[in-house]
Subunit: 238 residues, 3 copies
């Protein structure tokens, strides 16, 4: 939560983290985007997540879901499906194993780290996008962003990124921030993945390890300007 809040502040967004049933609906209704992350999951929080979704939906606030660890336990897979069913989710951002787990009920992942490449989740991502009418963003060495028949591939990023915890959550948080200001969920998700990848490349330059990377990553987000993006972006759409 701390790392995602700092990434959001670095790009100029205004994050609030809340989980109490007593207030999530009120907070979600105030927000320009709702991000639900099941990383730190508990039964009580699931109720709050559903309350927040309903409030966001009622106010036409875009909803972004990160089904962390779907496939690792039944509770996570079921919760992810429940959150997808309770209100129309705008964007799902996940890794390849999580996306596959959401399409194949008995699929098991190792935990929260993906054991699949993103292309191995292409069909599952398409199916998920079709089933729930949402955009699906799959993080990996190549990121996929899928909406209906459209597939955007983003080749930015760096191998140091999976060595730092919470960067998937940060990608999801950025997708929320971008969905707050971009009427196209497809573009919002693609831009979030692109910004993550490019900031990751900048942060990884001459980087001695994941500690330094964690410092330079919010610095890179803060410093990122349009020319950096134009110069580095490797995105294609089919």
């Amino acid at each position: 939560m701390n790392a995602t809040a700092n990434a959001l502040l670095a790009i100029g967004a205004s994050p609030v983290m809340a989980h109490a049933e007593e207030e999530v609906a009120e907070m979600a209704a105030l927000a320009k985007a709702l991000v639900i992350n099941i990383g730190t999951l508990s039964r009580v929080w699931v109720h709050s997540m559903i309350e927040a979704e309903r409030a966001a939906h009622a106010k036409h606030v875009p909803i972004v879901l990160d089904p962390v660890g779907a496939g690792a336990t039944r509770f996570r897979t079921e919760t992810a499906h429940r959150l997808l069913g309770e209100a129309p989710v705008t964007i799902v951002r996940a890794n390849a194993s999580e996306v596959r787990a959401l399409c194949t009920p008995d699929h098991l992942t190792k935990g929260v780290d993906s054991v699949h490449g993103s292309e191995q989740a292409l069909d599952a991502a398409r199916a998920l996008a079709a089933r729930y009418g949402c955009v699906v963003a799959v993080s990996g060495a190549t990121d996929l962003v899928i909406s209906g028949e459209t597939v955007i591939r983003i080749h930015n990023g760096h191998p140091m990124m999976p060595r730092v915890t919470g960067l998937g959550c940060t990608a999801t948080a950025l997708a929320g921030a971008f969905a707050a200001v971009n009427p196209s969920p497809l573009r919002a998700a693609a831009h979030a993945m692109a910004v993550m990848g490019i900031a990751g490349e900048l942060a990884a330059k001459n980087c001695p390890g994941p500690g330094t990377f964690q410092v330079r990553f919010p610095d890179a987000l803060y410093q990122l300007r349009e020319p950096d993006i134009r110069e580095r972006l490797t995105m294609d759409e089919t």
Copy 2:
């Protein structure tokens, strides 16, 4: 919690974070100061906060309250008032929007970030200080510390500070640490705000972004010595 614990360790304090009803009273009675922060709020934690307040009050342990997000939701505003009512709070440390929300029941803030300058909260801070007999510290470009008729203004700090999450919480934690060793809550709160601002200035020197700032800030707290404070402090009292 992690960032505030590290800031407290950096200045030589000995933090313990606890929230279980089963132990908060015991822990608060052992402590030299109790800091209550409603940032990560839930109903269960409110019970623990009240238990902790009572135990602290019974042992004459100073109580410092951070009403994070007061005004953003009714639950936060009501909880803050409840915590102010259950035991005599020594110091309230908040931003301008939160302080205003605690004086005007229907006031709404954007979330946890202040939408007001600290001077816009001067009257509300005075009213709050009078109503609860406490010191009120309002963070902002200029910090205000108010006790009865006294107003201390501290002009230290840096624009990078609101781009990092948890620095308000750290200011509150430092107010607790200083209240543990300084019999004047007004001085304790003012010193905490001054140390925050000066450490922030030192951390922000040639700082490429908020990631680096978060590293240099605890370094600055750790290295801070009396001459740095004397040289940089811009405090006035009326």
Copy 3:
């Protein structure tokens, strides 16, 4: 949790943090080691911890316990004993005050920081190891790792380490990672303490303060190679 997850990723392990009763058994059964840390304690989490222990035990997954703050409150001391009693714990990693508190019921510590040197906990550590048939690792200026009659002392480390929160928890997490791949719990615990101490020495070189230390520590873990360990290790066994 964040710092320990990052340390585990830095050494190439694959951490999952879970606490919901609905899933901990399933998650623990998937894991190669279970680490239980009572730092952020609540009654609900204790149930989950016990569930996780049982599932781990049934699958012969090693269990590593960090009794954070044992001795500071009755709830912590009792919870630690309960967790030691419910399933055979493989390794206990604690500071000297916590180890003493687990052997002397009425012993009180200051909080979560140790007020004793590790040698002052030698007898208590031996007694604890004998009573529960586990390895006991005591962190301090000199680390002790005890199993039956064997005592390993590791003299690596740096005075900056107690100025950063969560490094004890990280030592425990590393003991879990090493127990996942080393059939000797004694060696796993000793190697974890050695790696912590050596990475701490490397991170502390010309280090301006605890902020920088927190960055360099995962960098050092990530970069650590066998020759660094051979060159720096000061371990003796009796």
